[in-house]
Amino acid sequence: MNRPLSEKSWQYRQLNAQTPGLDALSDALLELVQAGEPVVAGTADLQYSNGLAKFARECPERFVQFGISEQNMVSAAAGMAAVGLKPYVATFASFLALLCCEQIRMDVAYSALPVRLIGHHAGISLGFYGTSHHATEDLAIARSIAGLTVVAPADGAQLASVIAASADYAEPIYIRTQRGRDPVVYQAGKPFVFGKAIKHLGGKDLVIIACGSTVHPALQAAKALNAKGHSVGLLDMATVKPIDSDAILEAATNARMVLTVEEHNVLGGLGGAVAEVIAGEGLPVKLRRHGIHDEYSLIAPPTHLYAHYKLDSAGIEEIAAGLLA
């Protein structure tokens, strides 16, 4: 079989080249290395899925391949951090936040070591790979762990900004990302401020609070509704923990309703965090938490799932319109 394959055929190693968005992580890390940061990057047999293959190629002496041993990866990263390195370790969110939950708490968060945990392909973005590869619990888990900062960038540019900002950040961080195909929300180079929500739109009727993969569709939904005469705001709560209570309270004071939208269980995640802030103030605003409603997602290609669970712009608009009615 000597003829080359058709251009439409592809194999795992070409994933990177096919998905330029996957370069964001490696590029941002390579910049830190160039800036003299003692960065190491590691993964657990997923270097093409998270794009770290590029980092491995360009900076092999700072790349660590852990194989299918996620727990060893997290504890070893903590050990490396204890000796002065800044490890960034990445795997599917389910195999990081869930499978390594205890190692994250003990070795990383309690030990307050500057490890950065990148849980990619979060939510239901792995579509028909099914529940084992879905992570709709990771925000709740990460939020419950004291000392852990939790961020969910919306696109590659914001991820790059998070990585850049992480260089001088003392606390360990859980970074929840998607599959490198995010539609653009942000321009490159915007400095990221941990703990500060990003206000896209103010709203009097309803404020939507989103993070990560839901920022883009929520923004589109809000704009569509505003074009129809509503006043719908949008906050990107990119830092899920520590949560920006001020931004929530401002929104909840000025609007009648708040809608959280997350690619995550509606229990304990972004919606849970917002509920804690609102109920803590006794504000009479009504909160609707939208996301995966405490169930296991069906399997299907991701876009089909987003439509099914109303997590695309049309679905979010429908949910929001229902509240405005």
Binding site: L5, Q11, Y12, Q65, S69, G130, S132
Partner: protein, 302 residues
């Protein structure tokens, strides 16, 4: 139930591989045919999904066919039959090669295959016991299956049943610590109706297992963990079937057994055999056609 192991050494099964367990000529032809069928169907299903694990399914095709058509005690019409042999796999991403076999055996209508990975269909990249008749345990997170198998084998003993539990694991999977927890537990509890099979295809996602994190010497590891351990050519379906049948028949064994099946990742399609990056991928129909031709020619190749 617990306690030190007896003096039977790790590898002295008197029955292992004996000729009396070999499939007949007719059977052998059927088994080979089913392994090809598994591969061809995998290609068909992945065309529906537009992405899939061809090579992980191909290295295991003879193992699936041998187990389901030549070794396991099953009642396809009664998927929850309590006396059935159980099968599960840590390398659940090879399910695309197993689903067609389950349908072929009658566990569910073959039309279900046509909706592979589509919204509402039970068949995804990984096997799901809640949705798919014939699937004994769900997987997808690598490393759990041998533990689940230990539980099943122990439950069988507690309930006085004589079914066998087969667990297929990948060679990359051996990097998951939980596999070794299960290895200790299975040996300590002398789970002699537990039969593990390592699909030793030499590759995992990011490259060759020996380059990523080596798991060699595999056989020494399993013996030192107290398992009777055998090595077999995982594509010689006659040898595989003979060995597995003989291991099932060996009622005197006092421990679990691990079969290291030497396989080739992507077996049957030349450019997949040669290029390990095919762990995951997509074949354009033009290339699929050529792959299908190669697979059909396997019968002749040997």
């Amino acid at each position: 139930m617990l306690g030190k192991q007896n003096n039977r050494t790790a590898n002295n099964s008197p029955l292992a591989g004996r000729a009396e367990f070999a499939p007949t000529g007719v059977e052998l032809a059927m088994l080979k045919d089913k392994a090809l069928f598994s591969r061809l169907e995998a290609i068909r299903l992945i065309e529906i999904a537009k992405v899939g694990h061809y090579t992980s399914a191909f290295s295991a095709a003879e193992l699936f066919a041998s187990l389901y058509y030549g070794v396991m005690r099953l009642k396809p019409g009664e998927p929850n039959w309590a006396e059935r042999d159980r099968f599960m796999m840590g390398k659940g991403h090879a399910a695309v090669g197993l689903f067609p076999i389950l349908a072929d055996l009658g566990f569910f209508p073959t039309e279900v295959l046509d909706g592979y990975t589509r919204l509402g269909n039970p068949l995804g990249d990984h096997p799901d016991m809640r949705k798919v008749p014939g699937i004994d345990f769900s997987s997808g997170s690598i490393g759990h299956a041998l533990s689940a198998g230990c539980g099943m084998a122990l439950a069988g003993r507690i309930l006085g049943k004589d079914f066998h539990t087969f667990v297929m694991i990948g060679d990359g999977e051996l990097q998951e610590g939980q596999v070794w927890e299960a290895a200790l537990f299975g040996a300590h509890n002398r789970l002699n109706r537990l039969i593990g099979i390592i699909d030793r295809n030499g590759y995992q996602l990011d490259g060759a297992v020996d380059d990523i994190i080596t798991v060699e010497p595999i056989v020494d590891k399993w013996r030192s963990f107290g398992w009777e351990t055998h090595v077999v050519d995982g594509h010689d379906i006659g040898a595989v079937t003979t060995l597995l049948r003989s291991l099932k028949a060996d009622t005197a064994r006092d421990r679990p057994v691990m079969v290291v099946a030497e396989t080739v990742k992507g077996r049957g399609v030349s450019y997949m055999e040669a290029e390990p990056g095919w762990h995951l991928g997509y074949l354009d129909p033009v290339d699929a056609k050529r792959a299908i031709a190669e697979i059909k020619a396997m019968e002749i190749r040997g």
